[in-house]
């Protein structure tokens, strides 16, 4: 039980960091070294259907501001301090309200603390904002 919980927390953190790495903007500061490694979640789903949808309005990215918060949230979740992790993620959400990465972090944290319903609802909402297959698939995995 304890071991599986630990492994799961490790997975949560690595996923957050992994996705942080996916972002197009590379933050000037060094991202903390991942604690554990996990391959991209393998979820087989039809590709998101966004026919002819143009690129979204180009708002300058808040990515550089988000990354330190996401990293801290990952660390808090790993410590088991889910309240702190969620507080940090909510702050991140206010800064980048259309960041799928933030929704994913929230969904992961909700699941880690045992709230599957909230994890699912958050991931569903996040699906509105995902831009890459990896992001969308990771979110979709929570909605099943």
């Amino acid at each position: 039980m304890a071991l599986s919980q630990l492994l799961f927390r490790g997975a949560v953190v690595s996923l957050v960091i992994l996705l942080a790495g996916c972002s197009t903007y590379t933050p000037p500061v060094s991202v903390p070294t991942p604690v554990a490694k996990q391959p991209e979640p393998k979820v087989v789903t039809p590709p998101v259907k966004m026919p002819q949808a143009p690129p979204r309005p180009t708002t300058p990215s808040a990515d550089a501001a988000l990354q330190p918060l996401l990293a801290k949230a990952g660390q808090a979740a790993q410590r088991g301090d889910y309240e702190q992790a969620l507080a940090l993620l909510e702050r991140a959400q206010r800064i980048g309200p259309d960041s799928a990465q933030v929704y994913l972090g929230m969904a992961q944290t909700h699941r880690a603390r045992g709230d599957a319903a909230q994890a699912r609802a958050t991931a569903e909402r996040g699906l509105l904002y995902c831009t890459t297959d990896a992001q969308c698939n990771a979110l979709r995995a929570f909605t099943r």
Binding site: P27, P28, V29, V48, K49, M50, P51, Q52, A53, P54, R56, P57, T59, P60, S61, A62, A64, A65, Q67, P68, L69, E83, Q84, L86, A87, L88, E90, R91, Q93, R94, I95, P97, D98, M106, Q118, A121, T122, E124, R125, L127, L128, Y129
Partner: protein
């Protein structure tokens, strides 16, 4: 002889016993209350802190206003916390730092550079900062309703040494030696008063003053004076000098701020100078010390000249006593009073504070809020509030010079459900009837989306292209007289597509649709959207009957804007106790209550409202390509004018009406819409994005018949459908190249090429 002396002895003994008992009583009173004296500390209510990072949507003017409200002083070069210098697109500021519930934001000097309406870079000493936040504006406090004492606690260790020694030099020079009262002190006071030709200090020790403030009334009798001395001695017996001095520093009365009494030097420093006590300059310290003697007589706001003279006397005493050097005193004497220069921001947002108070009252007793020194961190956004107030004033002035019309608005960030700004009446800065919370009005067509959503949730039966009949109908309900709804233009429009009926707000088609679905289905949908109170289970509900506040409508549209996720409107983020320990967090919680696809289709219809329906007036304010969605609402004879809608970042609901429920002569489109659009055009930073969920696809539709048709065919337009709900029938028109190349607003969302 023997008898008399015996009697005298008895009397003396009795007197001694009485005095002894009195002292026991006083002693008990002191020990019972002093050591665990509960300071009454009001709750402090903070706005959201402004987040600074490269890419933030913020103008130099916004930042300047935030800093002004925070009381930052404009200087040439910022050298200490709370100073700022601004130069075109560069703002150089010395941030004060703040202990937030999660972590400490350090004091530091930072440079914020702008490019247009965005922050380009934030840096400190040439190194980039990813993210920082300013100290939050304190927008108010929660004081006892009848007014009362307020203070900020300060520990003796945090009181500057000079201040402490200055205080003793003026109020009680032998404090460190005496036993509670001081004959020498009285003599010295008399002498120094004589020498300076004015009353510099009274003869009471600090201990006596504390006893007086703490336990006694202000009457001047001998018995009271003796009691004071006795209690002072007892206090000294029981407690350390440091404890007594610390209590004094937190207890002393230093003026009035409206109904609340300013107690303690820490609150006085905030109140008069907008600074923590630790950061006061020498001349400011001297002013506060000088005010003890007569908080209203030497009030620097009301009697600046007298206060200045008093301050200079204090500086002189401090120099005489060797607390400061004569040169320091001379330099400080040359300073102006140095009062804060901000417009009074605190407690000028009564409507929002009332919302906070209501939310708090669910979890806290009134007494805890006014006495426990809680810090309440809210989502209040001073920048959005400023815009909402100025948009309200501008539009109301234009609509109604007589001042008979009232108005209220609510602004939320729908991604998080946080209320950011609130106007409860035309005079936004005055407390009074809070219409945003307490108005109970019918909502007119603002409720219609609930009918259409209930329909669109049944893709087997309804789609945006379903043909509805906008023709007269009579609804008979048991025990009520037959109801014959009318259209606003008193005409019927025959067959119309479902999305058109909502866009044009046709009453007949909407009532027919609602009756087909059943009133219960609409009541159920309203509940899922978050509106559960004041909803009558009657056919008239379909056209907006009931009692709703602007906040109720914001809750409903919040769920719609968020894509069918209901979340409670939140105004509070965190509550922290007097020691900085987190007490409670109000977390974000999503609850999926309506299907994403149905809400997506409703979004299309609400976009149609502003592009081609009753809400088209918003584009008199907004640029054509700035996508928003919304709905107008008008009640009988224009008694209520509503508009609710959202962009990519903000949701707002506005209402205009009269307190006496009189006729306004306005529709939703000619009244509340203007407040809404005026505000949105200036406050919203992001248009509504188009995000197509799974299981939605688009089809070319004949706009008259609702049949499938080909691209480029007559009356063709493109509509979204839940997969499988597309119309079955098809026109006989084959797709062709549309020669004109004119795209409608929806088509252009897809960026199609002709």
């Amino acid at each position: 002889m023997f008898r008399t002396s015996h009697l005298l002895f008895k009397l003396a003994l009795a007197a001694l016993v009485v005095v002894g008992l009195f002292m026991v009583y006083l002693d008990a009173r002191i020990t019972a209350t002093f050591s665990d004296k509960m300071w009454e500390l009001s709750a402090k209510v903070y706005a959201r802190p402004l987040e600074l990072f490269a890419g933030a949507a913020l103008t130099p003017g916004d930042l300047a206003y935030e800093l002004e409200v925070l009381g930052y002083r404009t200087v040439t070069t910022p050298r200490q916390p709370g100073e700022v210098s601004r130069n075109q697109n560069r703002v150089d500021l010395y941030a004060r730092g703040f202990d937030f519930p999660d972590e400490r934001e350090p004091q530091r000097r930072v440079l914020v550079e702008f490019s247009g309406a965005r922050v380009k870079a934030v840096s400190a000493g040439g190194t980039g900062i990813d993210l920082m936040r300013l100290d939050p504006v304190q927008v108010g406090g929660i004081y006892p309703r009848q007014g009362g004492e307020d203070r900020l606690l300060v520990r003796l260790a945090d009181v500057p040494e000079v201040f402490r020694r200055g205080l003793m030099a003026v109020e009680d020079r032998s404090f460190d030696q005496h036993w509670g009262f001081s004959i020498g002190g009285i003599a010295r006071a008399a002498f120094s008063n004589l020498r300076s030709g004015q009353v510099v200090s009274g003869g009471s020790t600090i201990t006596q003053q504390l006893v007086k403030n703490y336990y006694l009334t202000s009457e001047r009798t001998l018995v009271r004076k003796l009691t004071e001395v006795l209690m002072a001695v007892l206090l000294e017996l029981h407690y350390e000098k440091d404890q007594i001095l610390e209590s004094y520093i937190n207890e002393v009365y230093l003026g009035q701020d409206g109904p609340r009494a300013v107690h303690g030097f820490a609150l006085a420093a905030q109140h008069y100078f907008d600074k923590p006590l630790e950061q006061l300059d020498l001349h400011q310290q001297a002013l506060l010390i000088g005010m003890i003697k007569g908080p209203s007589l030497y009030n620097p706001e009301r009697n600046p000249q007298r206060a200045l003279e008093r301050r200079n006397v204090i500086l002189e005493v401090m120099a005489d006593q060797g607390v400061i050097a004569p040169e320091q005193a001379a330099a400080a004497r040359a300073m102006p009073l140095g009062l804060n220069n901000r417009g009074r921001i605190r407690d000028s947002f009564p409507a929002f504070l009332e919302l906070v108070r209501r939310q708090l009252s669910r979890d806290y007793r009134e007494e805890d809020l006014t006495t426990r020194g809680l810090s309440i961190f809210t989502s209040f956004d001073p920048l959005l509030q400023r815009q909402l107030e100025s948009s309200t004033a501008a539009v109301m002035e234009q609509l109604d010079r007589s001042g008979k019309l009232q108005t209220a608005s609510v602004v939320t960030r729908f991604d998080t459900g946080e209320v950011a700004a609130l106007v409860g009446g035309r005079k936004a800065r005055y407390a009074g009837f809070n219409r945003a919370l307490d108005a109970r009005r019918p909502a007119g067509s603002l409720l219609k989306p609930a009918i259409y959503l209930a329909a669109l949730e049944r893709p087997g039966q309804f789609s945006l292209a379903t043909v509805l009949s906008d023709t007269p109908l009579t609804i008979k309900a048991a025990g009520a007289k037959p109801w014959q709804p009318q259209n606003f233009d008193r005409k019927s429009h025959g067959d119309v597509l479902l999305y058109q009926a909502l866009a044009q707000s046709y009453n007949l088609a909407s009532a027919r649709l609602g009756m087909q679905l059943g009133v219960d289905a609409v009541v159920d949908m309203l509940a899922r959207l978050g509106v559960e109170e004041g909803v009558p289970r009657l056919p008239a509900l379909l056209l907006g009957a009931g009692e709703y506040s602007p906040v109720d409508m914001a809750t409903m549209y919040q769920t719609i804007a968020a894509g069918g996720f209901r979340m409670p409107l939140r105004s509070i983020r965190d509550i922290v106790d007097v020691n900085g320990e987190p007490l409670k967090r109000y977390p974000l919680e999503y609850e999926r209550t309506v299907g994403l696809q149905a809400v997506h289709l409703l979004h299309f219809a609400l976009r149609a409202v502003v592009h081609e329906g009753t809400g088209h007036g918003v584009y008199n304010y907004l640029p054509q390509d700035f996508a928003v969605a919304g709905k107008t609402g008008t009640t009988n004879d224009g008694r209520d004018s509503w508009f609710a809608g959202f962009s990519g970042d903000l949701l707002a609901v506005s209402w205009i009406g009269r307190d006496d429920n009189g006729v306004t002569g306005l529709t939703g489109g000619s009244g509340a819409l203007k407040v809404w659009a005026h505000f949105m055009s200036r406050a919203s930073k992001q248009p509504l994005a188009y995000r197509m969920p799974d299981d939605i696809q688009t089809q070319w539709i004949d706009d008259r018949s609702g049949y499938l048709t080909g691209e480029g065919c007559p009356n063709s337009r493109i509509l979204p459908f839940i997969t499988g709900s597309e119309p079955r029938q098809r026109t006989d028109c084959a797709p062709r190249d549309s020669g004109s190349g004119v795209k409608d607003w929806f088509e252009s969302l897809f960026g199609r090429n002709g």
